[in-house]
């Protein structure tokens, strides 16, 4: 009854509803059907959780046939996966590839699953992770008998249970329209005319950035590199967190020099028909960046895992690497597409630092470098 009185009292004021009534009193009033919202929220969420579970159970049904599971990063080319699938299918093995995140997330998954591994093979970790793979014992050694690496450095340390499947060099790239006369030596790079012209990549968050810092340490010496960076600082426009950001700025013309791969200009040459972007190997040097694959320790089917590695290193698949990955095939004797590289810019003295030395010193180098660049 009191409810109806309330209505009669307030109904005429409908255009300016209840301005004077304090909110707590309003909320104390009982409403019919008041449980509906609760039930609706509940059913929406339960419905959702149920559908998630249904999806989950649906996709986890494994085919009965022989299969091999590989982890790789998201941007690993589909063409290469397809080619490997075709090769494995000849042996009646089906290839399942889980692509997620960057190589960092591939490593993290391997590390977190080290007690009960799911995957048989990992594809696409770079040097940042090789030492940890070894120390954590995440991989089983495998050396395919018939494989000859393109350059001797790729045989890596024989103790390492991983295999290089492609490589490239971390160098500078330059924009020949904005910078017709690029510097050729480390000393020329300090030239004041290059003020705010270099986009560096953060060695604390990016593998190419890390390798460029290592290149400078190897080239300028552990005593001299900090001093060099101190002098170089005015020429650095910014330090990008990842390769995409850094190269994006460079490709948009924000700065004429960027830390990247020596094979990056091939993209512009082949897909855009542009000769504008060029490799700049300072004094012919470039840090050897290697991408490796390996067999996960505790694989359920070692033979199938070996077959997958063989397929990755087969001439057919290796021939796909230049135009899909913009890296060089690790297998000797695989031809590069025509016009892929401008020979005068080639890296002549590749640099590769000992992994144990890096593991021992990297945190300190990074801290010192940051102190200088701060």
């Amino acid at each position: 009854m009191s409810r109806n009185l309330y209505l009669i009292q307030y109904f005429p004021h409908i255009a300016y509803p209840v301005p004077s009534l304090p909110p707590d009193r309003r909320e104390g009033i009982h409403m019919p059907y008041s449980r509906r919202p609760l039930v609706l929220v509940a059913s929406v969420f339960i419905g959702f959780v149920l559908s998630v579970s249904v999806f989950a159970s649906g996709s986890s049904q494994k085919p009965a046939e022989r299969s091999v599971l590989a982890y790789t990063y998201d941007s690993f080319p589909g063409d290469i996966v397809d080619a490997m699938s075709a090769i494995l299918a000849q042996d009646g093995i089906s290839l399942k590839v889980e692509q997620s995140g960057d190589s960092g997330s591939v490593y993290t998954r391997l590390y977190l699953e080290r007690q009960e591994p799911r995957a048989d093979v990992f594809i696409g970790l770079d040097q940042t992770y090789i030492h940890a793979i070894l120390a954590d014992g995440l991989a089983e050694a495998y050396r395919p008998a018939s494989f000859q690496p393109a350059i001797p450095e790729l045989s890596l340390n024989p103790d390492l249970p991983v295999l290089a499947f492609d490589y490239g060099y971390i160098t500078l790239n330059y924009d020949s329209e904005a910078l017709p006369n690029p510097p050729r030596t480390w000393a020329e790079l300090l030239d004041p005319r290059l003020s705010q012209s270099i986009i560096m990549l953060n060695p604390g968050t990016s593998s190419p950035g890390r390798n460029f810092l290592l290149l400078s340490i190897e080239q300028l010496g552990e005593e001299g590199f900090l001093d060099y960076w101190r002098q170089l600082k005015p020429n650095i426009l910014t330090v990008a967190g990842g390769w995409s950001e850094g190269y994006g700025l460079y490709a948009q013309g924000e700065a004429p020099l960027v830390v990247s791969y020596d094979s990056s200009p091939a993209y512009h040459r082949i897909f855009e028909g542009s000769e504008r972007y060029k490799t700049l190997a300072i004094e012919g040097s470039g840090y050897l960046q290697v991408e490796v694959a390996g067999i996960v320790r505790g694989t359920r089917d070692r033979e199938a895992a070996e077959k997958l590695i063989d397929a990755l290193l087969s001439p057919e698949v290796q021939a796909l690497i230049p135009l899909n990955q913009f890296m060089y095939p690790a297998r000797a004797g695989v031809a590069l597409p025509e016009g892929y590289l401008a020979p005068e810019q080639a890296v002549t003295s590749p640099v590769l630092m000992d992994e144990a030395r890096i593991a021992e010193n990297y945190t300190r180098w990074l801290a010192e470098w940051e102190e200088v660049l701060r």
């Binding site: 309330y6 909110p23 104390g28 559908s51 995140g101 330090v239 028909g273």
Partner: protein, 585 residues
């Protein structure tokens, strides 16, 4: 998954164990009587999938790292990260840049939100739509936009203007303003709309000055909204990663950067997960504290009925023009610059990037070698990407705004202390922690589509809830009571009362949920396991392949679609319900 049963138990518990639904009584009494109000369970239903699943993943990572037998790579003990001075310094930097960014964003948004709420002027909807579309772009494109426009080679520098370097704290703040202005404008202008115009009339007739009115009347009435917007923007900026790295330089290591580095340099997932938790605890504590500091409920609010708009004096007009000019320069110009870059990649008009995208004539677009196969690159067709993104966004928008509306209703009926603050917590999970936590729980990406939709809803929920919460509180109960008494059903009531009165906030909520979904990279990328290709995933793949011009073209296409979409939503939101014979008149 296997977590369904636990949830349904919670739901049935809430069905059985609640008194207040049956017998009305003040909610505090039910707490005193040892019975929890039903809204508590609503809260749990939202929070369990939102907060605890990712947290479970993080905890799992920490536990798994502690199990380390010591034989592997020598890693710092998980707890050691807390003893480092860098951890605490990076926290300080996070608070500094986020606080400054949020403060400046709000200062800039205050006058604009007032104008959006009170005046009708040409381009009003377009400003909001384009601003919201900016919210959808991945941070890399915001970076490109800001640097492209304000950088050394931008139009301003070429005009000879001597700009301060954007590679500084100023650049961070600028990029964050570009990113967050639209949400602030939307939340604040909703607040302005709800202020009863009679209060202003009273203040004018009592002879208060303009300034006095602002401080004595508007500011207290708006403080809830200002606080809500501040917290939202603060958190978004706190968790920002690429923007901070590129503008802040090497010294500017915020907490989010520190978390990533713990992975990358120390290869220590346990430590990174612990830092994520620490970050969550601190920002969560701050959010709750800010919320507890304000207990009062909104008062004197009403949904707007468009009143005749006052004649604006000429001086004010000039000031407004100047204000919008500055805002356009700050926020819209960088975005429009991206559009310019997409059509004029080398300084002359070219359509090739768009042609490549849809492979209209791939042969002619790449004279050397083979054509760029965008479809293979992004592993879906560009049209398919757009359709699936919009479809997922629509689902997320519907799901989230429904859940937020119902939660807000439940909380209005059964108020719960600090519920508003608690419901903001899910958004404190940063991209890194979210992908860490969810990636750990769903290693093979088993959840796929449903998982992506659920995760995006979770990400959008706090924002959507903020947009709806005060509007639902301001909703007069007497209409509903009358309708119920007259025998109206739930759906009829929603259609004829709630929806017309809440049209603008509901549609705004839907738009923002859709925007969060369209802009989300982490959840789609982590849970979609590469199978679900939304626009940010496609952009990421194009940029990863150095194909920046096609990425730019796709981004501009996204901007166009999203702006159009939001224009429609804005138009729907600002339609006057009175004209359709709604209940207002």
């Amino acid at each position: 998954m296997g977590r369904g049963p636990a949830l349904s138990r919670q739901a049935s518990a809430s069905k059985d164990g609640s008194g207040p639904g049956r017998r009305p009584g003040p909610p505090s009494a039910s707490i005193l009587a040892g019975r929890l109000p039903p809204s508590f369970f609503v809260l749990l239903l939202v929070l369990i999938p939102a907060l605890f699943l990712p947290l479970l993943g993080l905890a799992d990572i920490i536990q798994s790292s502690i199990q380390d037998t010591g034989s592997g790579l020598p890693r710092p003990a998980a707890l050691e990260v807390l003893e480092r001075s860098t951890t605490w310094r990076s926290l300080g930097l996070s608070f500094l840049q986020a606080g400054l960014s949020a403060l400046i964003t709000l200062l800039l948004a205050m006058p604009g939100s007032f104008a959006l709420a009170r005046y009708r002027f040409p381009g009003r909807n377009f400003i909001m739509a384009l601003g919201t579309a900016g919210f959808v772009l991945p941070s890399l494109l915001i970076i490109l936009a800001v640097i492209g426009f304000y950088g050394k080679n931008g139009p301003l520098s070429l005009l000879g203007l001597e700009l301060p370097s954007i590679y500084s704290l100023g650049g961070i703040v600028l990029a964050h303003v570009v990113f967050n202005l639209a949400i602030s404008l939307s939340i604040l202008s909703q607040g302005w709309r709800e202020i009863d115009p009679r209060l202003r009339e009273a203040s004018v007739s009592l002879g208060d000055s303009q300034l006095g009115r602002f401080f004595r009347l508007y500011l207290p009435l708006m403080s809830r909204r200002i606080l809500a917007a501040f917290i939202l923007v603060f958190i978004y900026c706190f968790l920002s990663f690429s923007i901070v790295l590129i503008f802040g330089g090497v010294g500017f290591t915020t907490m989010e950067v520190q978390i990533y580095r713990e992975f990358f340099v120390a290869l220590n997932p346990g430590g990174a997960a612990l830092l994520s938790l620490l970050q969550l605890l601190l920002t969560g504590a701050l959010t709750l504290l800010l919320h507890l500091s304000r207990k009062d409920q909104p008062r004197g609010f009403r949904e707007d009925v468009d009143r005749p708009i006052r004649e604006i004096p000429i001086l004010s007009r000039i000031l407004w023009l100047f204000y919008w000019f500055v805002m356009a320069l700050l926020v819209l110009a960088p975005m429009l610059f991206l559009v310019y870059r997409a059509f004029f990649p080398e300084g002359s008009f070219e359509f090739t990037s768009f042609q490549v995208l849809f492979a209209v004539d791939p042969e002619s677009s790449s004279p050397v070698g083979r054509p760029l196969e965008v479809e293979r690159l992004i592993r879906s067709s560009p049209a398919g990407v757009i359709f699936s993104s919009l479809g997922i966004a629509a689902l997320v928008g519907t799901l989230t705004s429904t859940a937020a509306f119902l939660t807000a209703r439940a909380l209005k009926r059964w108020p719960l202390p600090a519920a508003d603050g608690i419901l903001l917590l899910p958004m404190l999970l940063s991209g890194v922690s979210l992908s860490l936590g969810l990636g750990q729980l769903f290693p093979g990406g088993e959840a796929r589509l449903a998982g992506v939709i659920l995760a995006q809803s979770v990400l959008a929920f706090p924002l959507v809830f903020r947009v709806l919460r005060d509007a639902v509180i301001a909703l007069p109960e007497n209409f509903r009571l009358a309708a119920s008494n007259l025998g109206a059903g739930v759906w009829f009531r929603f259609r004829t009362i709630d929806f017309p009165l809440l049209r603008r906030p509901l549609l705004n909520a839907f738009a923002f949920a859709a925007a969060v979904s369209l802009g989300d990279f982490t959840a789609a990328f982590t849970l979609g396991a590469g199978q679900i290709v939304t626009l940010p995933v496609a952009l990421y793949r194009l940029m990863g392949f150095r194909s920046f011009n096609s990425a730019l073209a796709l981004a501009v296409l996204t901007l166009g679609i999203v702006t159009t979409l939001f224009l429609f939503i804005q138009a729907g939101a600002s339609r006057d319900p009175a004209k359709e014979g709604g209940p207002v008149r």
